[in-house]
């Protein structure tokens, strides 16, 4: 288990979500659910972040920003799609300005459905994300050794 997978730092971006999932992401970090006690901190800097929590259904205006944040993050990195809009577009699927799901823009590792996604589901997804993060770190190490 690497240092980053013990206490991964998360970054959050609202990709045209209704705020419901965003405040639940924050609520998961705050007292009540309090994942900060494990050292999981919400950071504003993509370069410090290990896990990318994306909420919302992604539209034409912000798809580039999601890609940009994803590219700025340092490997290994994990993307968690929070909420049903981020997974598939949800209730907004038919809207003209909705692309429908984060996986249309960047590769997603863990899906956390729900409208709005419950903090328990976010925590569960982050825990699954930690396992993925470990795998990716191992693969990265092996690749470096091989090179």
């Amino acid at each position: 288990m690497g240092y980053s997978s013990k206490s991964p730092w998360v970054i959050h971006y609202d990709a045209s979500s209704c705020n419901g999932c965003d405040i639940e992401v924050l609520a998961a970090l705050c007292p009540g659910f309090d994942v900060e006690r494990f050292g999981i901190i919400n950071t504003g800097d993509p370069k410090h972040a290990d896990i990318f929590l994306v909420t919302g259904s992604v539209n034409e205006r912000n798809i580039d920003i999601i890609k940009q944040i994803y590219d700025q993050m340092v490997e290994p990195k994990v993307v968690v799609a929070c909420g049903i809009c981020a997974c598939s577009g949800g209730i907004f699927h038919d809207c003209y300005n909705v692309i429908g799901g984060v996986d249309k823009a960047i590769p997603v590792d863990v899906y956390a459905p729900g409208c709005a996604v419950r903090p328990e589901a976010i925590i569960d997804a982050v825990v699954q994300g930690i396992a993925v993060l470990d795998q990716k770190a191992e693969a990265l190490k092996a690749m470096k050794k091989g090179a």
């Binding site: 959050h12 971006y13 609202d14 990709a15 045209s16 979500s17 209704c18 705020n19 419901g20 999932c21 965003d22 405040i23 639940e24 992401v25 924050l26 609520a27 705050c30 007292p31 009540g32 919400n42 950071t43 504003g44 993509p46 919302g56 259904s57 539209n59 205006r61 912000n62 920003i65 944040i69 209730i91 907004f92 038919d94 809207c95 003209y96 300005n97 909705v98 409208c115 709005a116 419950r118």
Partner: protein
Amino acid sequence: MGTASVIPFGPQHPVLPEPLHLDLVVEDEVVLEAMPQIGFVHRGLERLVRSKDYNQFLYVAERICGICAFGHSMGYAETVERLMGIEIPQRADYLRTIWHEMSRIHSHILWLGLAADAFGFESLFMHCWRLRERVLDLFEKTTGGRVIFSVCKVGGVQRDISPSQMSEILAVLDGLRDEYSQLVKTFLGDSSVYSRTAGIGAIPHKDAVELSMVGPFGRASGVNYDVRMLGHGAYGDLADFQPVLSTDCDCYARMEVRCAEVLQSIDIIAELASKIPAGDIMVPVKGNPAVDAEACNVLEQPRGECYYYAKGNGSKYLDRMRMRTPTSQNLAGMTLALKGCDLADVNMIILTIDPCVSCTER
């Protein structure tokens, strides 16, 4: 004097959970002009009214914004009821108002937390969000949802609040009042908070009226307007309602107004709970809105006046659904407040209008 340069603010910024982009023209750390750019949350919800019928659209209306979710479903339901001439039972009206006022409490405490985070008071932020969880627990007990309730329907509400639940609500809110008052002491009495907010981003009363600012943002500049004082629905049965006003016009005043409004909402809920009539909570809804029938409605959201308009076309689909949200009213005030401020105060000023980007852009 240096030369002017442009600094981008957002859309991904730690101070706001929402994407708001500003181009700040700065010279020597002083903001000369702020140009907001929007569209990051635009989904095109008003168009959905053509493909979802008026009952289905209620669930879309609720998802316009996750913070004022109940307010939007209530505002939409009331508009459609006016459109079709439906009279809802009084108990349903009271229940809606109680949930709406609880949403205001949760929204204002959420905002106070974010404001504390913006001026760098992390522990105060955590305390605010700890208190907010109790209101969310009440929502979960009475409606089943923490954020999106789906409890409002055209024609009434889907769930009743039992007497035991009502007394629990009152007990929890009473307990909240004590702890909340201690937090307010820090917000309004702490010298470090005062120095970060007092005199910052002032908007004189005259400008506030001219820019038709609404909600706590306007009331902090002395704009004596709150939709609740018009006495629609259950608000008309309140013994007395006076909008919370301040005349200081700065960030501190806006904080003051919101701090007082939470206590006011607790009082309103207590009064409504003592007066709530027994009876049905829903009337059956039949038929469709008539051709060219029009209805409009105003509602005091946590962020200010929200205006709804709906037009029928004889089918189960509405012809047009339009709303004007408080944040779109207040954006002009925000750009005015940002003019001439320090770069370090930008995030504080943006937060004090309590921007709700997803309401504004829909």
